[in-house]
Amino acid sequence: MHRTVLIAEDEPYIVQSLSFLLEKEGLDVEVAVDGRQTLDMLRKNPPDILLLDLMMEHLTGFEVLKILRSEGELKDIKVLVLSAKGQENDRRRVMELGADKFITKPYANNNVVESVLELLESIPH
């Protein structure tokens, strides 16, 4: 069974490298470029894991996370936040809103890939 990842990120080169890394691990990758599109795609086709940037147009990552955790069908989706907002208060707020993991940009590729695989393993089959 294919595992799916939704990358919510508005920087095309970051999307390109993340897609490459995750597809290499055999994952199906979808991409959303702003907060509103992210929510639409989450609702239409819920992925196993969401890679979420915080600074996006229309809806911020914080808002997406808050809405996601309040919707029954979406609230169990694993969320890995990747953000250049690396301050402690951002990290704490994101975790309080229900993120499963927070990684600060710039990151090491293997840190992101390993975190995604760990989160996928934690999903009950």
């Binding site: 080169y13 390109q16 490298s17 490459f20 890394l21 600074m55 707020r93 090491a108």
Partner: protein, 520 residues
């Protein structure tokens, strides 16, 4: 401090009892009861008991401790700057509390809510004003670095990368590198160009901005001070006497030293007053010689260089309260330049490594004057150590502030209690030193002591201030006061902030207010 009178009157009227009936029943005159009802007489508990018995009401109905506090709070509210021009009637709080206590509570609630919003807004705007561009720019740079790093790792670690993917990623690195160069250049330009910094909103901050824009150095005033000093300074004469003579002879100024009036006499607090009609200059005879000399020098500059000062201010497009504040700052500057001539003062400062005590002795200035002159040693060809300056009273009111681009100082309420200016009040009159680190990591040397200013006759409290100067940590070896602090490691660093509301040190034991940073 109670609403007893109006409330008594209200109850009496509601019960249909006349003043004369009530007065007679408790054995006082009608006129006395009338004075009580208009809060013109304070009465003791025995009479209150008689009145409440006669009116058949609970004594709490006439006045409670909560009423007194409510009145006190409303009176304090009238003193707030927001109501400065409203001329609120001082007696009204008692009447409002007596007749409409819930309205009184409502007014206070509304005011406190407004105050809380203003504080939060101020704290947020301080943060946003100081770095919205920085936030955006650093975010962009972090994203670019992420792309470059990620692509580089893939190129290095994946040997069998298809050519089209490899080419695409190489192109990506190249494009992102170019973007990084532009973003970094813009950021450095922003940091290094004061003209692009966000502007401040309060008049005091705008005066500070004006001084920072001019690097707190005014060549024209330095030249004027040198010229004036050459004309006035007579060998063998004390400078104060020379100034005194010059003002009398050249400008016909009558200088009079006055004894400050007793505190019961209102409006006599001024240490300096000039009457242009009679050309009379009044100085308080309690002023120390250094302060009197400073006032004379300021006055002389105002007379001889008033147009030049106005020209400087007009060129900066200043008006209103900011103009007046900047004018005072320029007069301070000019008097300082006159009393502590640039070259000899800088030479002595460097020779003594900014020893304020030795400089006071050599130049005859006060602690505050010497510290202030340090902040103006900015001649491009011969600069001194750049110092920031803060003057604050024991209640935390800041009356003088000159910050530096890399050495910010608090603006007002809610400042960091660990800052040396506030700690200096614990050891009055002693010079204290501190190496402090701001949350962003900059280390600075802070030097402070309290000074007292006599303002009146015996029994009048002196005005007390803490004067603090500060320089960036990398100047520590040039300043005497850093000797025992440098090279002692980080355990002697005091972790400072500017204001609790904008400070990111969440676990600080000295925090007085919650931080608003988490809400951003």
């Amino acid at each position: 401090m109670t609403p007893l009178g109006p409330r008594l009157r209200s109850v009496r009227k509601k019960k249909g009892i006349t003043q004369s009936d009530l007065a007679r029943s408790i054995g006082i005159s009608v006129s006395y009861l009338n004075l009580i009802e208009h809060n013109k007489r304070n009465i003791g508990p025995a009479l209150v008991a008689k009145l409440t018995r006669a009116l058949d009401i609970d004594p709490q109905h006439l006045s409670t401790p909560q009423d007194a506090r409510l009145i006190h709070d409303l009176e304090n509210l009238a003193a707030e700057p927001l109501f400065r021009l409203s001329r609120l009637e001082p007696k009204a709080p008692k009447e409002i509390v007596a007749n409409h206590p819930r309205w009184a509570q409502g007014i206070l609630k509304l005011y406190r809510s407004n105050q809380a919003c203003s504080e939060a807004l101020e704290a947020m705007s301080q943060r946003l004003n100081s770095d919205p561009y920085m936030v955006e720019s650093s975010h962009q740079i972090m994203n670019i670095i992420t792309s470059i790093r990620s692509f580089s790792e893939i190129l290095e670690e994946v040997p069998d990368l298809p050519d089209d993917v490899r080419n695409s990623m190489t192109t990506g690195i190249s494009a992102e590198s170019r973007k990084l160069g532009i973003a970094a250049k813009s950021l450095f330009e922003f940091i290094n160009e004061p003209g692009k910094s966000p502007r401040s909103s309060t008049p005091a901050d705008q005066v500070n901005d004006f001084l920072i824009d001019r690097h707190n150095y005014f060549e024209e005033l330095e030249d004027a001070a040198t010229s004036l000093r050459t004309r006035i300074d007579k060998s063998g004469h004390r400078l104060s006497d020379a100034l005194f003579d010059y003002l009398q002879e050249k400008h016909g100024t009558k200088i009079e030293f006055r004894t400050p009036q007793a505190r019961s006499t209102p409006g006599t607090a001024s240490q300096y007053k000039y009457d242009p009609k009679s050309r009379s200059l009044y100085l308080a005879n309690t002023l120390p010689e250094a302060s009197a000399r400073f006032q004379l020098a300021q006055h002389l500059f105002e007379l001889e260089y008033g147009d030049a000062l106005a020209g400087i201010l007009k060129s900066a497009d200043l008006t209103g309260e900011v103009y007046q504040g900047a004018l005072r700052a320029l007069l301070n500057y000019a008097a300082s330049a006159f009393l502590f001539p640039y070259e000899p003062f800088l030479e002595a400062s460097e020779k003594t490594r900014y020893d304020i005590q030795l400089l006071r002795r050599a130049f005859g200035g006060s602690f505050e004057q010497i510290c202030h002159r340090f902040t103006t040693l900015k001649r491009p060809t011969a600069p001194g150590v750049p110092f920031a300056f803060l003057r604050v009273d024991p209640a935390g009111n800041i009356s003088k502030r000159y910050s530096l681009p890399n050495l910010p100082l608090p603006r007002g309420d809610g400042a960091c209690p660990l800052l040396l200016a506030y700690r200096a009040f614990l050891t009055p009159g002693q010079i204290c030193t501190q190496i402090g680190a701001l949350p962003e990591g900059e280390k600075n040397l802070y030097i402070a002591r309290t000074v007292s200013k006599h303002v009146g006759a015996y029994g009048e409290p002196d005005r007390m201030y803490a004067i603090m100067i500060a320089c960036e940590g990398h100047y520590i070896d040039q300043v005497l006061y850093g000797d025992h602090l440098s090279g002692r490691g980080d355990q002697h660093l005091t972790p400072l902030g500017l204001h609790c509301r904008t400070c990111s040190r969440r676990s600080c034991q000295h925090r007085a207010h919650g931080s608003v940073l988490g809400t951003l």
